[in-house]
């Protein structure tokens, strides 16, 4: 994979969503211990990104479970260290700030 610099905050969340592409996503995922990204991972990541670009905020875990097509149990299997946070990071959007 070609190396390319993207802007991130102190916790590694991208600060410029336009620098994102699927290679960047795969690299962030690999760094977080998820490699390779399966179709199910992509379904969540793409859903998060779409919702963020539409509404300006990341969906809650509740919305992810209801509307992404991936149930909550599977979300935690795909992203064991916290689905909402990790999927947002891979999707190149800011860290979700919600408590739910």
């Amino acid at each position: 994979m070609m190396s390319r610099a993207v802007d991130v905050d102190a916790e590694g969340f991208m600060t410029d969503a336009t620098q994102w592409d699927r290679d960047v996503a795969a690299a962030i995922a690999a760094e977080a211990g998820i490699s390779p990204l399966t179709d199910r991972h992509w379904q969540v990541v793409e859903f998060m990104r779409e919702r963020y670009l539409e509404s300006g905020s990341a969906p809650s875990i509740r919305t992810l479970g209801k509307a992404s097509g991936v149930p909550i149990k599977e979300l935690y299997e795909l992203f064991p260290k916290g689905p909402a946070k990790l999927a947002a990071k891979i999707a190149g959007i800011p860290k979700p700030r919600g408590c739910i």
Partner: protein, 163 residues
């Protein structure tokens, strides 16, 4: 060893065991939010329901958990007014509407969500015996009825939060 002694950041919390002892809406939600929030951060979580906290997992009662409108100074409502029939339901209903706007689920859905996130849900044996309940009274997500000793066993190595 003190995790800060060598100048490193404090060790992250890896497990929380949260005791739910109250049966009012404002008594139950903080525990559920903290348990769900722990799982969202990849922290292992257990919920231990005791005394009236059992209402949150009681299939006949979990939809009817209400805000305490009597003896609740935070509501800034006269005690006599809080005691009028229907006031507790009304306040609960208004709060539920506001919570829905913030994407906070009702208690039955929230408990289900937390169980699906991999948290363990346990009922306190002493309270179950005291109230004459059986496992059939609880929602399917409840893992087990356990003793306080077993709870401490489960909580070992993590933080205990009493609510």
């Amino acid at each position: 060893m003190d995790p800060q002694a060598d100048g490193n950041a404090p060790a992250p919390i890896e497990k929380v065991s949260i005791i739910v002892s109250k049966g009012s809406l404002e008594g139950v939600y903080p525990a559920l939010i903290m348990a769900n929030g722990a799982r969202m951060e990849g922290i292992e979580a257990n919920l231990f329901f005791t005394f009236f906290g059992l209402d949150a997992i009681n299939r006949a009662k979990h939809e009817h958990v209400k805000v305490a409108t009597v003896g609740n100074p935070g509501l800034h409502l006269a005690t006599w007014a809080g005691g009028i029939p229907g006031v507790s339901s009304l306040v609960t209903h208004k709060l539920a509407e506001e919570m829905e706007k913030l994407d906070i689920p009702p208690i039955p859905e929230f408990v289900e969500m937390i169980a699906e996130s991999g948290a363990g849900l346990y009922a306190c044996k002493a309270s179950v015996d005291l109230f004459g309940l059986t496992t059939d009274d609880f929602v399917d997500e409840v893992t087990e009825v356990i003793t306080v000793g077993e709870f401490y066993g489960l909580a070992a190595g993590g933080q205990i939060i009493f609510t």
